[in-house]
């Protein structure tokens, strides 16, 4: 897979690490949420067939995190 790093351009996927879904917000006040809400945040992630907004980090390059949209079926990537 060729991943478009916003800073370095198209690079091979082996230069990157996957950071999971980009749509998981850290609870604003962790202490205020109940166990179930906290557990959802910690342990549950979407796993769609199709378009997914994801975080990636260019570990073997500029070390920058960024977000992209990937089709989990075709691996076609569109920038977020």
């Amino acid at each position: 897979m060729l991943i478009p790093c916003p800073w370095c351009g198209d690079r091979e996927d082996i230069e990157f690490k996957y950071g999971g879904s980009a749509d998981v917000a850290y609870p604003r006040d962790a202490d205020a949420v109940d166990d179930a809400t906290w557990a959802r945040f910690v342990f549950f992630r979407p796993n769609p067939k199709g378009q997914m907004t994801e975080r990636w980090v260019h570990t073997a390059g500029c070390r920058r995190w960024f977000t992209l949209v990937r089709d989990t079926v075709t691996h076609q990537i569109t920038t977020a």
């Binding site: 060729l2 962790a30 906290w38 557990a39 980090v57 570990t59």
Partner: protein, 879 residues
């Protein structure tokens, strides 16, 4: 000899000597092993995998299912793919191939290539596409799996066209031509892996192309009938190739069995080669080959070959006739070669008129041309009557071979269907069709058609199995390339490494680092050496190379706030010139890593990490800074390799350090535990830290890594009067375990909280930190979690194996409840006995109780203790 007197692309002036199954033979330049064997009348090449039936050359290419051979240490090679070289020694496989236990002696390399257009397949369509692309000035790569370009045109009267076209391709500078190069994997965004065969190894090309043109041609498929596997039965197109391209007569008396026009030209070719055509059996004319019979045993030839065929009307009944022959040329039509197309997620559809699967929707920037695109005119398929299997009398399907390499018959497919399987994927797995090293290139579509016929469904509805890389078998050696042995992965060495080597250190790998494991004296074993090294650290002075510790330089006005959020304990109270042990959790509250954090100056900090965790910790910190705490002004730099770290350890360490830094006040009040001082010795700038990982009075001397060896040697010289003893990682482990210091990744495994480790003291109540919320979760706060404890085996000499499971009953019935496991276990010089650390359910409630480790055939009993065995009051550490 069946070599024709003239014709073909072989060079009769350049003979090549080779042997097969120990018998010497002669071939010519331009032969492959299959053509040379046929030329020498070797009919039986291998015996089949399940039934041991004799098999001969079936095809003239990569799709060969029968003629499998071993050459040297390489097994499961297709004779059709083995180029003939002088002195070649080949052996026909008898059933399965056998992997060699010898190291692969070939040399492999990797090449990364980039181009605008990659054309796969060097037949007419591929050469045409490459010519077109080459004119634009684009970078073009043309690859073909054969020894020369041309595909089916070779030896077929196209020499002038080939010569002109290839000449035109050789002139543009940006056109690269690769032969003996098989594209075997087509991945996302047109990454194509290509295996190129070279005389003593190969090259793995990793080509990234803007556009891929698939000119992969088509594979002929056989018709299926009883005993369709005898040596002498081959694909019609293969027979033509052997006659025209290799100047070989693959038989003397031939029968042609077909359902399409492609065999029209074959009869003429055979006759010109002096082969008589005894019969042309055409299903379109209402006839079929019903069965075959073997050649009589003896008679000079090898047994088991084809002796003749039984021909019968398609309608059954009617008159049958037997025709003697030693060559049966079969054509059931053509399958466009769409393996790569499918790997790249191209979709197929069944074309009723062509009786084959053709490309439907192509993936982006992939184009299919020629026979692969369903243009079968070049192969002369013409009109075809879709036909798959000739039924035989009595419904016996046990010799109707569908997959020759796997020895799977129509009977097997029918059995699969009778069990209720309907999906072609299920039938494949049940029968193993298509799972051989040929990946069912001559079998797959016939399998689909048989299923469709049996189930009364259209062929297109049954579909094909998923095509996966690799298209051809690829050796692990090619994948590894040069990355084997010492070049398997980078090796990291500390500045002091040459000293360790010179002083006989035994090394262990810690991540990519080589670390001294222990320093044996004379012929000491590890146990004796480690006990001696530990005694030196506890009673005198010892020294260790700690340079591999991960080190992250942290700078910025918000560094303190950052550290406070990152670590479970607080850093806002830590003064410049001091350090503090810190622990990190992940969001789930589990311990992640630990280390010492140094406050070096205003807005300037340095954090050490575990040797193995350095990269992961830096990434973790970066992730939070970049994605959650974007308002924090903090910059991180890995400085692991910048610093050399000499740990001087033991009650006499102060004497050694005093010798090196005579002016530096070293008394506990002036330079207390966890303080940092800057100084220099013999021109070497040194940062001294009173940090201990052994529990003893200790100093860590840091210097820029290029001074590392000089500093180490200075320490050794200053320590000589005190018999300073170098020690390695094993003694380090023992010393820290005696003190109950954990190692992240040894005591912890991603399921252990600080509370489980008895480290609640390190959890700040005044600030938020990563993982804190999870510590309140009901499960994380459970009282019966595994907790860190010490273990003292009842037998003082008994060493518990690390990883041993612990149970409550010494003789409990199996399955017994496992309540924990041993994480660290050593012999202690100080305790004069063995001891261990363990994670044990409700461990702190079991202090004083017995637990048991059932091992192979015996049980080790141990008493549960506090996890600190030495200097609980920290008197020695703080002295």
């Amino acid at each position: 000899m069946s070599r024709l007197a003239s014709g073909g692309r072989i060079d009769r002036t350049r003979p090549i000597q080779f042997s097969f199954n120990g018998t010497p033979y002669r071939g010519y330049e331009g032969d492959n092993l299959a053509s040379a064997l046929l030329a020498n009348d070797v009919r039986v090449v291998a015996n089949s995998v399940t039934y041991g039936r004799p098999r001969g050359v079936f095809s003239a290419g990569v799709e060969e299912p029968n003629a499998l051979v071993q050459v040297g240490n390489d097994t499961m090679l297709r004779a059709t793919q083995v180029g003939l070289v002088d002195g070649l020694e080949a052996i026909g496989l008898n059933g399965r191939g056998r992997l060699s236990l010898e190291p692969d002696g070939h040399r492999y390399d990797k090449v990364y290539a980039h181009c605008e257009v990659l054309v796969i397949g060097g037949g007419r369509a591929g050469i045409t596409a490459a010519l077109e692309a080459g004119q634009t000035g684009d970078r073009v790569i043309l690859v073909d799996e054969q020894a020369e370009f041309g595909g089916r045109l070779l030896g077929a009267g196209w020499n002038d066209w080939l010569e002109t076209s290839l000449g035109a391709l050789r002139s543009p500078p940006d056109v690269r031509l690769l032969t003996r190069a098989t594209a075997f994997g087509h991945y996302d965004q047109n990454l194509v892996l290509i295996a190129q065969r070279l005389p003593n190894g190969g090259r793995l090309w990793q080509a990234r192309a803007k556009r891929v043109v698939l000119a992969t041609g088509a594979h002929e498929r056989p018709l299926i009938f009883a005993n369709n596997d005898r040596p002498g039965i081959m694909l019609a197109g293969a027979a033509r190739a052997y006659v025209n391209r290799y100047g070989v007569a693959p038989g003397k008396r031939a029968v042609i069995f077909t359902n399409n026009d492609s065999t029209d030209a074959l009869a003429g070719d055979l006759k010109r080669a002096g082969i008589s055509v005894e019969a042309i059996v055409d299903v379109r004319a209402g006839e079929a080959v019903l069965d075959t019979f073997p050649s009589p045993a003896g008679g000079g030839g090898q047994g088991g070959g084809l002796g003749g065929v039984t021909i019968a009307p398609l309608t059954g009944g009617g008159s049958r006739r037997e025709v003697e022959c030693d060559l049966l040329c079969v054509s059931g039509g053509f399958n466009p070669t769409l393996h790569l197309f499918s790997q790249a997620q191209g979709r197929l559809r069944y074309d009723q008129a062509l009786a084959c699967f053709v490309p439907d929707a192509a993936p982006p920037n992939v184009e299919v041309v020629g026979a692969a695109a369903g243009d079968l005119g070049g192969r002369g398929q013409g009109t075809i009557m879709p036909y798959w299997v000739v039924p035989s009398d009595g419904q016996d399907w046990s010799t109707h071979f569908v997959d020759l390499e796997r020895d799977v018959t129509v009977a097997d497919v029918r059995r699969a269907l009778s069990t209720g399987m309907r999906s072609v994927e299920h039938v494949k797995r049940f029968t193993t069709i298509g799972t051989g090293s040929d990946q069912g290139k001559t079998a797959g579509i016939n399998e689909t058609a048989i299923i469709a016929t049996q189930l009364g469904q259209p062929v297109g509805a049954v579909g094909v199995t998923t095509f996966r890389p690799p298209y051809v078998p690829v050796s692990f050696g090619l994948m590894a390339g040069r990355n084997r042995g010492d070049l398997f992965e980078p090796i990291r060495l500390t500045a002091m490494h040459p000293w360790h080597v010179a002083h006989g250190a035994v090394f262990e790998n810690v991540g990519q680092w080589k670390r001294p494991w222990y320093f044996p004296r004379h012929d000491e074993d590890i146990e004796t050496a480690v006990l001696r090294e530990c005694r030196a650290a506890r009673e005198g002075v010892a020294v260790m190379d700690a340079s591999t510790l991960g080190k992250i330089d942290i700078q910025g006005p918000d560094a303190v706030e950052f550290l406070n959020r990152m670590y479970t304990n607080a850093f806002d109270t830590l003064k410049i010139g001091s350090c503090r042990y810190g622990l990190m959790c992940k969001v789930d509250g589990m311990v992640f890593d630990d280390g010492v954090v140094m406050h070096l100056g205003p807005d300037h900090w340095l954090a050490t990490t575990t040797t193995g965790g350095a990269a992961a910790v830096l990434e973790w910190m970066e992730e939070w800074l970049q994605t959650e705490w974007t308002d924090l002004r903090v910059r991180l730099t890995s400085v692991t390799d910048h610093w050399a770290d000499v740990a001087v350890v033991g009650p006499r360490s102060r004497d050694v350090v005093r010798g090196l830094f005579p002016k530096l006040p070293l008394d506990p009040e002036s330079f207390p535990f966890m303080a940092i001082r800057e100084s220099e010795t013999a021109g070497i700038p040194v940062r001294l830290h009173r940090i201990t990982f052994s529990g003893e009075l200790a100093y860590e001397l840091w210097t820029q890594s290029w001074y590392g060896l000089a500093l180490w040697e200075a320490v050794m010289a200053a320590g000589e009067p005190f018999a300073i003893t170098p020690y390695g990682t094993e003694a380090m482990h023992v010393l820290r375990a005696e003190k109950g210091y954990i190692i992240c990744g040894q005591e912890t495994d991603g399921t252990v909280t600080p509370q489980d480790l008895g480290m609640s003291w390190i959890l700040s109540k005044k600030k938020a930190f990563i993982g804190r919320r999870s510590h309140r979760r009901r499960d994380t706060a459970r009282p019966d979690r595994k907790q860190l404890v010490g273990l003292l085996p009842v037998e003082r000499d008994q060493l518990l194996p690390e990883g041993a499971q612990l149970v409550v009953e010494p003789d409990g019935t199996i399955p017994t409840k496992m309540i924990g496991h041993v994480t660290s276990s050593y012999r202690s010089a100080t305790l004069d006995r063995t001891f261990a650390l363990a994670m044990l359910q409700s461990g702190r409630e079991r202090l004083g109780a017995m637990v048991y480790a059932p091992l192979n055939g015996h049980v080790v009993s141990a008493t549960v203790t506090e996890p600190i065995f030495y200097d609980k009051e920290n008197v020695r550490r703080d002295s």
